[in-house]
């Protein structure tokens, strides 16, 4: 890549990546928790995909019962720190808070949860849960992302012998390698891995299934297998010039950022991001925070069709990111490195069956934007190769098909949850899937 931005000072990087939502102080947590109405059968709890008893944990903050509060949270959600920091609360619990209807600010549920869980880790994770005596059965979990961790924690408490196999050298899945650093740092995700390990779960990193160990070997040696493998590579753009230096997938770029070794991440002065989902916004704001002078998001549809949340879009605008809607990339231009991107204007066509409008290129509207770097963020593929190696598993529309009652796949001994069954949602969905799958596995093995 040419025209790489010069390095910033360490202080500047830290400032750029500082937390968007800083922790609450004791006094502010007390005041905020006292503001909660302590609703009965509360809408916030129903809106949380893991159904944390929110009014209960908040009540406990107000009585200085922080360990009790942590227990209330964790028993529903094993990656509660990540969720506290990275959940899209505005569309989940906080969006459902009754205070919105009253015209007041909703309770800051995310920050309160973080207050409790931060304290729990600061206290050195005092034991809150009983691990049942071993039942002699063993379960293999593939993937140490939130779904795998949740499944592992829950099974370990039920008395199973659990091993998590993780291909990466550092565990945690996208909690470690994906979530924007101004929301949470790698370290937070690793604390949650430690918590799960404290229940006796063993985590074997650097162990890819299908690479270091075959799936069959696991399948033979364990009573059940849980697939928490997430998604695969970023989708290709399939345009000319995609192989040029300076073209990178959003996931690869973000993974570099997540090393938190900011100065070693190459970023062009002018960056184009293709796609307008939440990952695109992350890539855009991260590029900007690393010092890119101009960051442009190109999206072939209009702003209403964008899958990014409004609050993410707002953040990007605040960061000075430029959005070109109804603009599709046609070619990436350059000799060895990216020099520009040729785009074409699109116009909305007829809505499809799901109401999403198709878009068609407007001939003769081609134009070129000079850029030094192109980040591809048009979604991730499923782990097609791996999934097809698992006997009996049904795979529909890029998602592993499961029985919603117990998370069992077409292979009775194989269960699955998280991004690999939903095509890519949020951490909190993966956390819920993992927990529920554990109970599915328990029923399966104990009947």
């Amino acid at each position: 890549m040419e025209n790489i931005v010069s390095k910033l000072s360490t202080e500047q990087y830290e400032k750029n990546f500082q937390e968007l939502h800083p922790p609450l102080t004791y006094g502010s947590a007390l005041a905020e928790s006292s503001r909660c109405l302590y609703c009965y059968d509360s809408p916030c709890m129903k809106a949380c995909p893991t159904h944390i008893d929110i009014s209960e944990f908040i009540k406990k903050i107000s009585t200085d019962n922080l360990l009790g509060s942590a227990k209330t949270i964790l028993k529903s959600n094993w990656v509660a720190l990540t969720c506290a920091k990275a959940c899209p609360v505005a569309v989940l619990c906080e969006g459902a808070c009754v205070l919105n209807e009253k015209g007041d600010k909703p309770i800051e549920i995310g920050r309160l949860q973080r207050y409790v869980i931060d304290n729990y880790f600061e206290q050195g994770m005092p034991a809150l849960f009983d691990v049942k005596p071993s039942n002699g059965k063993s379960v293999a979990i593939i993937g140490s992302g939130p779904s795998g961790l949740a499944c592992g924690a829950e099974l370990a408490l039920l008395g199973y012998n659990v091993t998590i196999f993780e291909q990466s050298d550092v565990p945690g899945g996208l909690n470690t390698w994906g979530i924007a650093p101004y929301k949470m740092r790698k370290q937070d995700a690793l604390k949650e891995v430690e918590l799960v390990k404290s229940f006796g779960v063993s985590v074997k990193t650097g162990t890819g299934i299908g690479k270091n160990i075959t799936f069959n070997e696991l399948y033979k040696n364990y009573d059940a297998v849980f697939l928490g493998i997430g998604l695969g590579e970023s989708n290709a753009l399939s345009v000319k010039g995609e192989e040029l230096s300076g073209v990178i997938s959003a996931l690869d770029f973000i993974e570099q950022v997540k090393t938190e070794d900011w100065s070693s991440v190459p970023v062009g002065k002018k960056v184009a991001i293709i796609g307008a989902g939440n990952t695109s916004i992350d890539a855009a704001t991260e590029a900007k925070r690393l010092g890119a002078e101009q960051v442009i998001v190109l999206y072939r549809r209009s702003s209403q069709d964008m899958s990014a949340y409004n609050f993410e879009f707002d953040l990007a605008k605040k960061d000075g990111i430029i959005f070109h809607f109804l603009t599709a990339p046609k070619n990436i231009i350059g000799k060895n490195s990216v020099e520009g991107i040729e785009c074409i204007r699109m116009e909305p066509g007829q809505p499809d069956s799901k109401g999403k409008r198709s878009v068609l290129p407007v001939p003769g509207t081609e134009f070129t934007i000079p850029v030094d770097m192109v980040i591809k963020a048009i979604g991730q593929e499923a782990q097609n190769d791996f999934i097809s190696s698992v006997p009996g598993v049904k795979f529909v529309n890029g998602k592993i098909e499961i029985n919603v009652e117990n998370y069992q796949t077409g292979n009775p001994k194989v269960f699955a949850g998280g991004d690999c069954i939903n095509g890519g949602k949020e951490v909190v969905n993966a956390a819920y899937d993992g927990k529920m799958a554990a109970h599915g596995i328990d029923k399966f093995l104990c009947n």
Partner: protein, 439 residues
């Protein structure tokens, strides 16, 4: 034009807002500052025998994140000499002739000692005296304060020692730590005082430190009971003021005290018969400046209600005050929910379900719970309307047409004249007659 001036047992002030005898009234410096901001009067910090205070004198009672719902103290009377206080009172009165300065007194129970201090206090030019029979700690152990206030005979005797020499009005400050507040009030009247001030602080232990297991406030490992004041005591103080005000044998002026923080609180005391009101905790919390809102809040309220002076307001609510036996048993009110205001917190449901009469149903509707009151089962207790966080969402609606009235006293009278005894069966018959269902 609204006139806020008052005459409380002969003590005049431009408005009813006085500072209660307490730390805010320790010194001329503080009182001058308070007068500058608009306070109508002050009761100087109690002049007394030689005393010494301890460090750590106050304990706060916080509720649900709210600071100082109540304040407990083990402070004694002034710890500065009588001479310094008298000199400052004299100087302050000179500077502020239109404000009421009342000197609070508490000395040992000897006639000559009282005569001596009363004369000295009058010499300062003060407008009145307040006899502190209220302090519940420290002084009472030495036979002063509440030790006097709790025994009407002492109260009368000592007040007489004061009134026989005093040329200025005398208020007697009453302790709430008694079973019947009317007794010491009557004693004050019998001793020819011009008014009573109530309440002083309530015996209390404000809390325990759950780490050290010691009571709060803690004086190097020890603590004891203190006097409780602040917002939490207001309902108790209001009740006591009303008891004195409604006592047919009592006809002196009342200075209302206890938990007053705003003009609304003050007004409630006035509506129950107080002429002046005194404030301590609220000033200790937020400073003298609070009087400005008190003055214009009260003025605006008077204007909006068409009152021009406080004589028109004083005691207005006493007429609606009666004993339980005179309340109408046939008054039928039920709760109604304005569904357009409901935010679906379900607090009314759980309160009624667990804490009252199980007459609210919840049914899922549009992704939330719809709360509906079963009117025929509602006893009209008010609980749901009290817990509902949305103003005006639950209202209590009257269902009877007001044409019939039957009080408990009437009912018992009826039973007597019909030669029937008070039994559950006879009550049930009365209820049946009037469509009252108990379940």
């Amino acid at each position: 034009m609204v006139d806020l001036s008052i005459n409380c047992g002969g003590i005049k002030s431009p408005n009813p807002f006085w500072l209660a005898s307490a730390p805010p009234t320790n010194s001329a410096y503080q009182i001058c500052k308070a007068f500058e901001l608009g306070w109508g009067g002050t009761v100087w910090k109690t002049l007394s025998e030689p005393i010494m205070n301890v460090a750590s004198r106050l304990g706060g009672f916080d509720y649900s994140g709210q600071k100082l719902a109540g304040l407990n103290n083990i402070e004694l009377t002034t710890d500065r000499t009588i001479e310094i206080n008298l000199k400052e009172i004299y100087e302050t009165k000179k500077l502020w002739p239109d404000r009421a300065i009342i000197v609070s007194l508490m000395v040992e129970s000897k006639r000559e000692t009282w005569h001596d201090i009363v004369k000295k206090a009058i010499d300062t030019g003060a407008d009145g005296l307040e006899l502190n029979y209220g302090c519940p700690h420290g002084m009472s152990e030495r036979g002063m304060g509440a030790a006097v206030g709790q025994v009407p005979e002492y109260c009368k005797m000592i007040t007489e020692w004061v009134t026989e020499v005093s040329t200025i009005p005398v208020l007697v400050k009453l302790t709430p730590n008694v079973t019947n507040i009317q007794m010491p009030a009557r004693a004050a009247q019998a001793a020819k005082a011009q008014g009573v001030s109530l309440i002083n602080t309530i015996n209390s232990i404000v809390g325990i430190d759950l780490d050290t297991l010691r009571v709060v406030p803690n004086v190097s490992g020890k603590g004891g009971h203190g006097g409780f004041a602040g917002p939490a005591v207001k309902p108790i103080a209001l009740h006591m003021v009303s008891q004195v005000a409604t006592d047919p044998e009592f006809n002196l002026a009342i200075s209302g005290i206890g938990g007053i923080s705003t003009w609304k609180d003050a007004l409630e005391f006035i509506l129950l018969g107080a002429t002046s009101v005194q404030v301590c905790t609220a000033v200790m919390h937020h400073g003298f400046r609070i009087v400005q809102d008190m003055i214009d809040g009260l003025t605006n309220w008077m204007q909006s209600k068409g009152f021009s002076n406080l004589d028109q307001v004083r005691g207005k609510s006493l007429t609606g005050l009666d004993s339980f036996g005179n309340l109408n048993l046939l008054y039928k009110a039920v709760a109604r929910i304005d569904q357009s205001k409901c935010i679906h917190c379900n607090l009314c449901y759980i309160a009624c379900e667990d804490g009252a009469h199980q007459c609210i149903d919840i049914t899922p509707e549009d992704g939330h719970n719809k709360t509906v009151i079963r009117e025929k089962d509602c006893v009209g207790c008010n609980l749901c309307a009290i817990v509902c966080p949305v103003p005006g969402c639950i209202s209590m609606v009257r269902l009877d047409d007001g044409s019939e009235e039957k009080t408990w006293n009437n009912l018992i009278q009826d039973f007597k004249s019909e030669g029937r005894e008070l039994s559950w069966e006879n009550l049930a018959e009365f209820q049946k007659q009037h469509g009252i269902e108990i379940h």
